[in-house]
């Protein structure tokens, strides 16, 4: 019964007042951090994209235009809230929450700091209680994030359908097909991380990445990270995979009929998801709150206690990813829909599956004491044969399509 609260040493045993207050504070902190981070992210994105396009960007509201998002949000709140006549009223109202709530839920499992050095395992002491700097550390860890992102599909899908209008429906069908397809490769590249670290929980994964050499981006051999990054971008509907809101073709995508606060919720969820995905990537592949350490040399930030330093490291690492996302938006043109599906199904899913098998073979070879070189050669040959077969299948199907005409 204890496990229902996730394994946090705080909640083992009798429930006392101090742990309860700490948990409530954590909930509040995570929620507020999420909202403020989203606000700053919108500003950051506009400013950086403007800089890359030789413009100035928001500069009127507040210092450096920092309060621009707040102004926009307030404006959206006071706008009239329209519901189209042909809309399915209940689902139309439900959909924004279905995309807003998951965005915050998946933020709760990310280790936001803590001392992972000297075998501390991310424990910090607050008010005399041992705890982790993360809201929840469920045993299934990252699978929880995967489940939540599966739920987030509903928000977009139902928003488009319930609008009772043509373009939103097209946008939402595109979006959900894209998200469902890329979830597969996302999961497969996650599985390699589980294979290497041997645990599902986020704090355990961070704990296993003590030095630069054990960061999962190195330990899993870079390929899973690249696949995860591409799939995550597609999952987030960020450019260059933002076919969901291709303005030129779809007016505005799934949220065309939404206005006022409901639109603001979608907008918030989108940016919140970007931050969460970046944080998840840092957690999984780049050591999360762990400092950069190499061969016993730890890059320590002086004057800050270790527990707080984790937060600083996480912030810096996440910032790099957020910048990359903005950079992608400013530079890359949008994919065509068939290119998107080809990339997902014909490249990323086979590649992630193949890499997973390769790592699994290595692991098995090490456990059984087989010759590492022999294992590698055999698995590479097997994967090569699989690759040739796959290409053969593609070329045959392409030929048949030419002979018979397309299916639809």
């Amino acid at each position: 019964m204890i496990n229902i609260f996730a394994i946090d040493p705080l909640l083992v045993g009798d429930l006392l007042w101090t742990p309860l207050i700490i948990v409530l504070l954590k909930v509040l902190a995570v929620f507020v951090t999420g909202l403020v981070a989203t606000m700053l992210m919108v500003w950051f994105e506009r400013k950086v994209v403007a800089g890359m396009g030789n413009r100035i960007g928001p500069n009127k509201a507040g210092p450096f235009g920092l309060l621009q998002t707040l102004a926009d949000g307030t404006k959206l709140f006071f706008k009239e809230d329209l519901i189209p006549e042909r809309a399915d009223r209940f689902v139309f109202k439900l959909a924004p929450f279905l995309s807003f709530v998951p965005a915050f839920l998946s933020f709760s499992i990310i280790p936001l700091g803590g001392d992972y050095r000297n075998g501390n395992g991310g424990m910090v002491t607050w008010f005399g209680e041992q705890t982790r700097v993360q809201l929840a550390d469920p045993p299934v860890g990252v699978l929880f994030a995967l489940a939540i992102s599966a739920i987030a599909v509903y928000g977009i899908m139902l928003a488009g359908w319930s609008s009772g209008s043509k373009y939103p429906l097209l946008g939402s069908v595109r979006a959900s097909a894209q998200m469902v397809s890329y979830e597969a490769s996302l999961g497969m590249s996650l599985a390699t991380v589980f294979l290497v670290t041997g645990t599902l929980s986020t704090s355990g994964i961070v704990n296993a990445q003590g030095t630069l050499g054990t960061w999962n981006v190195v330990a899993t051999g870079l390929v899973p990270f690249v696949i995860f990054f591409i799939s995550a971008t597609a999952e987030l509907n960020r450019p260059p995979f933002d076919l969901v809101e291709a303005e030129q073709e779809l007016v505005g995508g799934f949220n065309t009929e939404y206005s006022s606060i409901r639109f603001a919720l979608f907008f918030l969820a989108e940016f919140m998801n970007t931050i969460t995905m970046s944080a998840l990537m840092v957690t999984l592949f780049f050591g999360g709150p762990q400092p950069i350490a190499f061969r016993g040399v730890v890059l320590d930030i002086p004057l800050i206690p270790n527990g707080l330093e984790g937060t600083v490291w996480l912030f810096l690492k996440v910032l790099v990813f957020l910048y990359v996302y903005v950079w992608l938006r400013a530079t890359l043109p949008r994919f065509r829909y068939d290119q998107l599906m080809n990339l997902g199904w014909k490249v990323l899913i086979p590649a992630s599956l193949g890499w997973f098998m390769l790592l699994a073979a290595q692991r098995l070879g090490r456990d059984q004491g087989w010759n590492t070189i022999a294992v590698t050669v055999v698995s590479v040959v097997v994967l090569g044969i699989c690759y040739v077969l796959l290409q053969l299948a593609f070329s045959v199907s392409a030929k048949q399509r030419e002979a018979e005409g397309s299916m639809f």
């Binding site: 469920p138 699978l143 469902v180």
Partner: protein
């Protein structure tokens, strides 16, 4: 506490299940199904089977019902169905009979197996000593890939057959006109 969780989850499941049957609109029925699946996931967590709960949400709520919704939206059956006519004669009586028979079977199974379930009282996780958080996954993997590996492989073959069958059915044969739905 456990009773409270059980009651809440059961209410979710029952409301969802009744909704699937009663709701006239296919999309609403599918959403009720999601509610049911969620409730079952909550029950799994309460039984310390977190992995099953996660898989339940990822696979059933995240993939299968999304596919249902896809079919409903793309094929344009998202309007209220005419329910008074029976496509197959006597369908309702047969359905009612099978339903009652199923209920009888379930009750019989619970009555005969009551002691076995309540008496032992060990969840999935508690078989491995200590608070190993990955006990769930390790145990499932051990039994699926050792004791039940044949059944596991047969299931995967079944899935492959289903995919091949679908592709064959959906393919246009030479010279055949595609009828717009």
């Amino acid at each position: 506490m456990e009773l409270f969780v059980f009651v809440c989850a059961s209410i979710m499941i029952l409301v969802g299940a009744i909704g699937v049957v009663v709701r006239k609109h296919p999309v609403h029925a599918a959403l009720s199904l999601v509610l049911t699946l969620f409730g079952i996931a909550v029950l799994f967590v309460a039984q310390e089977a977190e992995f099953l709960a996660a898989v339940q949400v990822i696979v059933y709520a995240g993939a299968i019902v999304v596919l249902f919704l896809f079919v409903i939206m793309l094929l344009g059956v998202d309007r209220v169905e005419e329910l008074r006519t029976e496509p197959i004669a006597g369908q309702r009586w047969i359905a009612a009979f099978v339903g009652v028979a199923m209920l009888g079977l379930l009750v019989a199974a619970i009555v005969t197996g009551a002691e076995a379930v309540i008496g032992r009282g060990d969840g999935i996780a508690s078989n491995i000593a200590g608070d190993n958080s990955d006990a769930n996954v390790a145990q499932l993997a051990n039994s699926v890939f050792s004791d039940y590996v044949l059944a596991f492989e047969l299931t995967s073959i079944l899935l492959v057959i289903a995919v091949v069958g679908t592709v064959l059915l959906a393919r246009k044969r030479k010279g055949q006109r595609v009828v717009a739905p």
